[in-house]
Amino acid sequence: MKSWISFLLPDDEYKNIKMLYFFSEGAILLFLSLVVMLIGNKSFQFGTETILLVAIGIFLLYVSGRYIISGIEYTDISTERAYRKELKATIIKVIGFVVIFLTVYLLLMGAPTSLNQWFEIGGLLISVSIVKFLSTYVSLKRSYQKNKELL
């Protein structure tokens, strides 16, 4: 079946169908949340920016959350050894991200001049790293458990 959305979908047919479900569910939730905000806007007067951010957040969090929890990301991780190896690779990737981000930031923006700026950049880096690590860890763990049961 040809559709413009095909470029966003994986080649594997099981993953492909799962992703279509996640996108569809996310789109329906997004529509319902917009209806709720449209009705609520008469009483609460949400700002345009708030509505847009909430709408984007609902869609992105739902689709990525479902993808992470479904355990379809790491389809070949089925042994303890492969799991440990991938976990190690994830930790290295996160550390690599921190180092590259910090280097690029210092080169482009210069070193932070105040303690407050150091906290800002440090806080951002720590938050992004934690989210990245946790999402990968949960996805990897779920994939490993799912694959183990299918052996």
Partner: protein
């Protein structure tokens, strides 16, 4: 849907990973098909049957 894919694959001495690579899906998808947790498309059923040298009937028809 229950099927004979796993038993046929094992008799043919093919691993899930090898079969998956040959039919162009992931190992997880083959595992799900074997467990009856995912119903593959007709195109994939034909590809699996060809790789295992069996007919669709032998692999997917009325398994108890």
């Amino acid at each position: 849907m229950k099927n004979n894919v796993k038993i046929t694959r094992i008799k043919a001495s093919i691993t899930q990973e090898q079969l998956a690579r040959k039919v162009g899906v992931t190992r997880q998808t083959i595992g799900l098909i074997e467990k009856g947790e995912y119903n593959p498309s007709l195109q994939l059923c034909v590809a699996i049957a060809k790789e295992l040298n069996r007919t669709l009937d032998e692999l997917f028809w009325e398994v108890d």
